[in-house]
């Protein structure tokens, strides 16, 4: 099977180049998530992620009203805000790491659109850039509302990742895939973030539909927490995002080493299943 080509006029950004390169050598991609500012030394989690073999790292900027998140990430957001976390402080913490060069993996920030609008898209993207962030996920900014941000992000060198959902009709999926940068975030199921017992059937179907319209890397997210699920996901997608499973452990007191231990079997599972996804 060959992938439809993405418009070659648009050169891939750093995040996408990084992910494509790894995918193209047959590696299953792993993007763990952490809520920024969740603990005093929270950036140590990023180092642990990198050490565990992450291919990208998602950092959530906590928002008061995380309407697409399940309880775990809601609690993490509340906890981080209660500690005084804010966009400004979290980006300041990231600046000290200076992103990719230091960790060796790209940083992708995720947050709700209100925080983007609060500073204004320009200022917000510029701040991300200064902090060494390469990508941005905004779950409540669907493609048809994204115009205001896409150009600005592009200009600032921030890759705006768009989400695709099992409910997205095919023509719209093509548009999302075409306009997404970095990768396409495939929401595995009709639901919020949070651990689930098994990989939803909708995951395969959605990934297949995305494949038909793009060769951009596709990461499956929402509900993936076990090596088995990762293996399953890898059969269809280029990799996985692991969020709630990480944050539940963090909320339960896990330190960076615990998380490294938690991610190791996931990494392994992704590596074992080395057939290229169909």
């Amino acid at each position: 099977m060959t992938y439809p080509r993405t418009n070659p006029a648009v050169a891939a950004g750093a995040v996408e180049r990084h992910l494509r390169a790894r995918r193209d050598v047959g590696r299953g991609l792993l993007m763990p998530y952490v809520t920024g500012g969740i603990t005093p030394g929270w950036t140590d989690y990023l180092r642990a992620f990198a050490a565990a073999g992450a291919d990208a790292i998602e950092v959530g900027l906590p928002f008061s009203d995380p309407t697409l998140d399940g309880v775990t990430i809601q609690q993490a957001s509340d906890a981080a805000l209660a500690r005084g976390a804010s966009t400004r402080r979290i980006l300041a913490d990231l600046s000290e790491l200076s992103g990719l060069p230091d960790l060796g993996v790209p940083l992708v920030v995720s947050t709700y659109y209100n925080l983007v609008l609060h500073d204004g898209p320009e200022a917000f993207c510029a701040a991300l850039r200064r902090a060494g962030v390469g990508g941005l996920i905004v779950p409540d900014l669907p493609v048809h509302e994204a115009d205001e941000l896409t150009g600005v992000a592009e200009g600032a060198g921030i890759e705006l990742v768009l989400l695709a959902s099992p409910a997205t009709p095919q023509p719209r999926l093509a548009e999302i895939s075409a306009r997404s940068r970095g990768f396409v975030y495939a929401v595995s199921l009709m639901g919020t973030t949070g651990e689930r017992a098994a990989l939803a059937a909708s995951a395969a179907e959605l990934t297949g539909r995305i494949r038909r319209v793009t060769d951009r890397p596709v990461l499956l997210g929402f509900g993936i927490s076990t090596p088995d699920q990762a293996r399953g996901a890898r059969r269809h997608a280029d990799g996985v995002v692991v969020g709630a499973a990480v944050m539940r452990r963090v909320l339960d007191g896990a330190g960076p080493d615990d998380l490294r231990a938690f991610l190791a079997p996931l990494r392994q599972a992704l590596d074992q299943e080395c057939d290229r996804p169909r």
Binding site: F63, S64, D65, P66, T67, L68, D69, G70, V71, Q74, Q75, D78, L81, S86, T87, R88, Y112, Y113, N114, L115, L117, H118, D119, P139, D140, L141, P142, V143, H144, E145, L162, L163, A164, S165, P166, A167, T168, P169, R172, I176, V187, M190, G191, T192
Partner: protein
């Protein structure tokens, strides 16, 4: 009462508060900032509503439900004794007399009928004080639908009777234990739940907020208030149209419905917000619960909790169309304190025999203040929407008075 010369200002450009807004936008506000998983569901609701709204069969069925079940039309009551005291001619549009006791039923019956048309078997709703929840449970029972109502745990404690009422009507009430455990969080939770239930459930939002088509749809379903009032004023007033049209604003549905009947007239439109929940008067541009509008936020862009004695005004934002009307200058938005609202409620009870909902009392408090400080010239005519009855607030008032 003295008659004053009629001062009339130019009528604003056509199309304000008219048909479906392009791309769901009211000026720069509105839109469909929904998670991708809900975009298709929102589109379906929008399309279904557009079709239904253009279908005389649907309109007729809804009009009949509103008449035989909800008690429409509601009267226009001249508040004679209070008018005498204030020196203005005050008319009350009596949404307090509808079934379940507030304008919420207008919207809910429309959405429930739409849900049936769309083949949905369940309604999802958020509620704060419980008025919208009770209305949703009511409409669901009437049409044989299921209902799941999300309600913050703190509100469940404060409004135990409404919780029982919803359950008696057969609805499931789900406690929301996240965030501030009030309306804002109940709304978030309802949206989260809808993501997993779009196939068989309709999310019945309670005000002119949320992603497109809700702000427009809910305004259209509430415009029956304004349309009726417009006709009643035409019959009742020498001038045909009142000088001022006033309504309280939580999310803004009763105000939107009222204003819609007068947008193309010279009437001055006034939305009255709670001092502690003044999205339109003091909010900043933002996006929440699927729409771009004005929201109360802290310096970091986090949404702050609203505080009002009136549970229905306890929402940190305002519907996008109000933000737009404000920008246009077509309506203005003022605020009233808890204390003013309570005093206005008592005054209406004493002079007109009507115990208003504390939400509605906000609108009245502004009329009283404005009549006192000359902002409402003597003899002016004022139409005020009395959005609900005060029964639900009696225990709150009892503690205060």
């Amino acid at each position: 009462m003295r008659e004053v010369p009629l001062r009339r200002e130019p009528v604003p450009p056509d199309g304000v508060m008219g048909g479906p807004p392009a791309r769901g936008r009211f000026g720069e506000y509105g839109g469909r900032y929904a998670p991708e998983s809900l975009v298709e569901a929102c589109r379906e609701v929008g399309e279904a509503f557009r079709e239904a709204w253009a279908d005389p069969g649907f309109r007729g069925a809804l009009a009949r439900l509103l008449a035989v079940h909800a008690g429409r039309p509601t009267p226009l009551t001249p508040a004679l004794r209070l008018s005498e005291e204030l020196g203005v001619r005050l008319y009350l549009k009596r949404e307090d007399l509808t079934h379940t006791g507030s304008h919420k039923i207008n919207n809910v019956l429309g959405q429930a009928l739409l849900a049936t048309r769309m083949g949905r078997r369940r309604l999802i709703a958020e509620t704060g004080a419980g008025q919208h929840g009770v209305a949703t449970a009511t409409a669901a029972a009437l049409l044989g639908l299921e209902a799941t109502v999300f309600m913050g745990e703190r509100d469940i404690e404060r409004q135990a009777l409404n919780v029982f009422r919803m359950r008696m009507l057969g609805a499931e009430v789900v406690p929301v234990i996240t965030g501030s455990r009030t309306l804002k969080d109940a709304t978030s939770e309802a949206m989260r739940h809808w993501v997993g239930a779009t196939g068989d459930s309709h999310y019945c939002i309670g005000s002119v907020v949320g992603p497109d088509p809700y702000p427009w749809m809910v305004r259209e379903l509430q415009r029956v208030i304004g349309d009726e009032a417009r006709a009643q004023c035409a019959a009742e007033l020498r001038t045909g149209v009142p000088d001022h049209v006033v309504a309280c604003v939580g999310g803004g549905s009763n105000a939107a419905g009222t204003f819609a009947g007068f947008a193309d007239t010279p009437a001055r439109l006034v939305g009255v917000e709670a001092e502690g929940g003044a999205g339109a008067a003091r909010g900043r541009l933002g996006v929440l619960h699927g729409c771009r509008s004005l929201f109360l936020q802290d310096g970091d862009g986090q949404i702050t909790q609203a505080h009002s004695i009136a549970a229905g005004l306890d929402y940190p934002g305002v519907g996008p169309e109000h933000a737009h009307l404000r920008d246009l200058g077509r309506a203005r938005y003022v605020t009233v304190t808890d204390d003013e609202a309570v005093r206005a409620a008592v005054r209406l009870a004493r002079t007109e025999g009507i115990v208003p909902a504390l939400e509605s009392a906000h609108a009245l408090a502004w009329v009283i203040r404005a009549a006192g400080d000359g902002e409402l010239p003597a003899g002016s005519t004022v139409l005020m929407t009395l959005s609900g009855r005060g029964d639900k607030d009696v225990s709150t008032l009892k503690e205060l008075l």
